[in-house]
Subunit: 382 residues, 2 copies
């Protein structure tokens, strides 16, 4: 018997309350049974997003939300700015290019965060840039971009909207949609919301809705105006992913019980403890600046393959962490502390890493990382 | 207490085996735990689709599969032929127009099936038509279009592909993808496959893949070539809807145990018995020709609102059937016999209809419809 531990940056473990709610007999999406469920989920998302704006609920992965954030607001040849500091930054570029936009990139070295001045300068040089795209937490590098400062820069411009992929950051970082002026923010179900994959969420500001009026890119499945009309009636444009939305309601209930501030603080603490423990083992973080609260990216030691660490954790210890993506593949491995995660998930991760690395010949003192976790937890609660 | 009965044409009831499998702790979509699950689902879909071709698994509603069937195979201004005999025929037109195709329609009166000669003639007159779009079962009217004959007509043409929306027909009708030469067939999870909404399936012939090489419509989320590459490795291009695909495996297991021929025969029998019982009550079918095995559309009697019948069935008896869609709204109501359905679902539906209509003042003899169900079942089993 090998017990399974899921510590990947999505899907993340699903709380039993949520699994149980989702295993009830299904109901019809246009019926009076479901309307109140969707209404409650809609309000819950506004709470989580810290917004009074619409938060659309789409039946797709997070990437579908990203596509909708492009094809509902722009026209062919529009100029946009993409902050590309990892695999998901690259995805923004690819989506924009697939739809015929002119993409200007700010290439950020993997493991580093974008310099807000670079964005300010790019916008000054090209006043025709209509959208600025970024990740909040770049899952591939474990870096958080400073969304507040970036929002403030873009907010000053009347004809530019700020689009944030918060798929892995939602619930893990404090993202003040309305206060900061984030125009479009994309979330996904299988991350901080502790649900199976299959839902994307997109908040949209009035400034963005105005841009949508002149947007000429083709769209049908991800048609946000139609979704907005449906949402006003507590429905979705096409068939609702009923089961997942029922689960969403339960997840939000759990988060609300904990309180948004506490939820974010928990992620912050777990991330911080993980980083200290990783250093105590003698490992180096891959994220050189502004590490994410959702996932910790760790450099594999000299001479050890990051994918081999991932694979051994999985095969020998039942721990599903994550390897590297794109050009970081082989160089790093990643541990998520996202969603339904507490201190013993970190203990398991650190303990597993210690054993795997010891077996691979990396010189370490067994238990030193775990001791650091315990020490920091005791300090915090004393 | 009001027990709930789901008799809508999607979502349909989910078997307990499937609910139970889906409520297990989630696993990671790129892990060795999940690869065999996806491989098995892939093979199961090929069995259900009666095809050796790829059947893609998308995280979206069925409509997403329909969009992909357009944007992966055509270029702006391509001419296509849409057989439009209901709400979902109209959807093909709307999708094609949203992507800038030139749509020629064969308008079929609602409740009737398309005349194959009309398609043959249209193709002769316009040799530049690149695709013919149709529904197998048009859910809004309860009509089945003759897919075999239509396939044979389109198959003769080298530069035209045949695209079938089989979302509500899959598992309810015998659809021989390879034998008949259906180029693209779209399915959805929440119908005959007895799953929650959230998955679309698309089979693609070699003829269609060749057309895809020259297709210039923009695409990113529904990118079938990328999905094909991922599927070859038993993965999906973006995050897999893990939970639903685990359920899909269980559903297919149940269908395989019953046998495809028996599954289709069961749907055929239930549909036939429903129609006879409806006539025995003194009601008229809305489908004047070639009624669907998936759903029966019934004309509301003179002076009675179809939506009121739907609403009373739901509110008073806990039976979720369906009203009318589009221009049939108010005129009809619909009863599905799709997926996890047996004879007592029909008994419940007919009994509920008898009571609701009696209360609404329609002259009928209570029990006559139910008696017809029983009589036909006894005949069949003797």
């Amino acid at each position: 018997m090998l017990k399974k531990y899921l510590l990947a940056p999505g899907p993340t473990p699903i709380p039993p309350e949520v699994l149980s709610a989702m295993s009830m007999p299904i109901i019809h999406h246009r019926s009076t049974d479901f309307i109140p469920v969707l209404e409650s989920a809609k309000k819950g998302l506004q709470w989580l997003y810290q917004t009074k704006n619409d938060v659309l609920i789409l039946c797709s992965t997070g990437t579908g939300g990203m596509v909708g954030a492009v094809n509902n607001f722009f026209s062919p040849n529009d100029k946009v700015l993409v902050i590309n500091g990892g695999n998901f930054g690259e995805r923004w570029t690819k989506i924009c290019q697939a739809y015929g936009l002119q993409v200007q990139e700010i290439a950020v070295e993997w493991g580093y965060t974008v310099k807000p001045e670079a964005v300010e300068e790019a916008l000054k040089k090209s006043p025709d840039i209509k959208g600025v795209f970024v990740q909040a937490s770049e899952t591939s590098t474990g870096v958080y971009h400073d969304i507040q400062t970036l929002s403030e820069i873009v907010k000053k411009r009347d004809n530019t909207i700020f689009i944030v992929d918060a798929i892995s950051a939602l619930a893990a970082h404090d993202l003040r949609t309305d206060k900061w002026g984030i125009d479009i923010m994309v979330g996904g179900s299988q991350k901080g919301l502790m649900l199976p994959p299959g839902l994307a969420f997109v908040s949209i500001s009035e400034k963005a809705w105005k841009m949508a009026d002149n947007a000429k890119l083709p769209r049908f499945y991800f048609n946000f105006k139609k979704e907005r009309e449906a949402l006003a009636k507590n429905q979705t444009n096409f068939t609702s992913a009923v089961t997942l939305i029922i689960g969403l309601n339960e997840s939000i209930k759990l988060l609300q019980k904990e309180g948004l501030e506490n939820v974010i603080k928990r992620h912050e603490n777990l991330a911080n403890i993980t980083r200290q423990a990783i250093k105590a083992i003698g490992l180096e973080l891959y994220s050189k600046e502004s590490p994410s609260n959702a996932v910790t990216a760790i450099l594999a030691p000299e001479g050890i393959d990051g994918q081999a660490i991932y694979k051994t954790l999985k095969d020998k210890y039942g721990i599903t962490a994550a390897g590297g993506q794109g050009k970081a593949k082989g160089k790093i491995f990643r541990i998520a502390h996202l969603g339904y995660a507490d201190i013993f998930d970190i203990i398991i991760a650190i303990s597993g890493i210690e054993m795997v690395l010891a077996e691979m010949g990396f010189p370490l003192k067994l238990g030193r990382g775990v001791a650091m976790v315990e020490k920091l937890l005791l300090l915090r609660s004393s």
